[in-house]
């Protein structure tokens, strides 16, 4: 290992997780008296900056999604479980954007489930929708058991590589949405600027980060938690582990053809701007996982069956 090699030297050592008290800024002054929170957006942004001295000067993006129960109710009343089940894997599909409100408990899973069941002609039409809600419940139950161990690999990688083969720092070009892969940069910009990303786009980014760039899933998970309004270590980290293969039977990867079949016209999926993603599944498998046995040639249609974890 080279002196400046950033790979993790000991695969059994847990990766650094967010609680890093040694790097916390000087403590903000404690106000024992209650403070009044501003309600207009500009004043609220200024107040958040004053209350959070750790925020960088260049951290200026605010989301079009506003917090609060009024906003949450608007999104809740707009859900269409039938359309959701038909189109949820398409990046322009009928997803709900309820996940930030669910993450912070503004809406409970029961609230959303009840609304979904009340809008469908028969309960079976809401099953896909409720099943996606159940993913959050499933992750939360794991989180309650795992605690901070949610930052550790649950199982070994099934990629033919060791955990120590994956970079333990997050590449600057990815953090700046400047990878040169047009579709990935599009998703990264959306994440940074809005704090929300379609679940399928999250999988594409996670697959790219873990398998094309060989970056440890923990680094990608931490980047997502910085930006996603709905980011919580349960759904986020375990979904990253699912992509990485440390909480699944095999790594998640995709090809440009798959990307083209799920993206709308606003995403640049042109071959010349996304060459790194192009190829058959068996070719990509050989390229990304050279230590594994070759994948058998198979007709692999753009499937929805590997994209289970929608972030509503």
């Amino acid at each position: 290992m080279l002196p400046n090699d950033t790979r993790r030297p000991n695969k059994k050592q847990p990766r650094a997780c967010p609680p890093r008290k040694h790097c916390v800024s000087a403590p903000a002054p404690i106000h024992n008296d209650p403070i009044t929170l501003e309600t207009s957006r500009d004043a609220a942004v200024a107040q958040v900056r004053a209350l959070c001295p750790h925020l960088a000067d260049d951290d200026t993006d605010v989301s079009p999604i506003r917090g609060g129960q009024v906003s949450a109710r608007d999104y809740l009343l707009a859900i269409d479980p039938v359309q959701y089940s038909r189109s949820r894997n398409h990046l322009d599909g009928a997803v709900t954007r309820l996940s930030p409100f669910i993450r912070h408990g503004v809406l409970s899973l029961a609230d959303v489930r009840d609304e979904a069941l009340s809008t469908v002609p028969a309960i079976k039409h809401a099953e896909k929708f409720v099943q996606q809600l159940a993913w959050r419940d499933y992750w939360q139950r794991h989180y309650a058991r795992l605690g901070e161990r949610i930052w550790e690999d649950i199982e070994p990688y099934k990629t033919g590589f060791e955990a120590s083969d994956y970079a333990a720092n997050f590449p600057t070009d990815i953090a700046r949405a400047e990878t040169g892969v047009a579709a990935i940069d599009h998703f990264l910009r959306q994440l940074i600027e809005t704090g929300w990303l379609h679940n399928h786009a999250r999988l594409y980014v996670a697959g790219y980060v873990c398998h094309w760039r060989k970056v440890a899933w923990q680094e990608g998970a931490r980047f997502f938690l910085k930006h996603l309004l709905d980011g919580d270590p349960a759904s986020n980290n375990l979904s990253w582990q699912w992509c990485a293969s440390t909480f699944s039977h095999k790594p998640y990867f995709f090809n440009l053809e798959n990307l083209q079949s799920f993206c709308g016209p606003d995403v640049d999926t042109n071959y010349k701007n996304n060459k790194a993603l192009a190829g058959s599944y068996e070719d990509l498998h050989a390229r990304l996982f050279p230590n594994l046995p070759p994948q058998e040639r198979q007709e692999r249609k753009p499937s929805t069956k590997r994209h289970k974890r929608a972030h509503h």
């Binding site: 024992n32 129960q69 069941l117």
Partner: protein, 130 residues
Amino acid sequence: MAIVWVHIDALDSDHPVMRRGDRAVFVWDAEDMERRGWSLKRCLFVHECVAEMGVEVIAGRTEEVLGGLGEPIVAAETPDPALKAIIKALDIETVPGKPFTALPPGTDMGRFFRYWNQAKRSAMTHSFNQ
């Protein structure tokens, strides 16, 4: 009556815990937000949720602020280990949220669909019928 600690996992005026106290307090803990690595937009989203709830807001370290309130405290249940540590340190009573599903003891959680096979019946039932 107790003081309700409104934390980042339960920003809901309708959470069952809100009926357990006559005063609700949210602690704006900037150190915790920094530790979590949150960007401006994440902090703003929480700010907007809390502002709309109209609860009392005090800035400072959560454990110090809550410890200084001098009253029994109740809080919503959470799986978050940092929040659980405060709950344990201050002997805070927790209140579960509205149930989403009921699982039989010993349910296999190894993969999602083993869980879903057990959870489906209650998850697909409206709260009024549970």
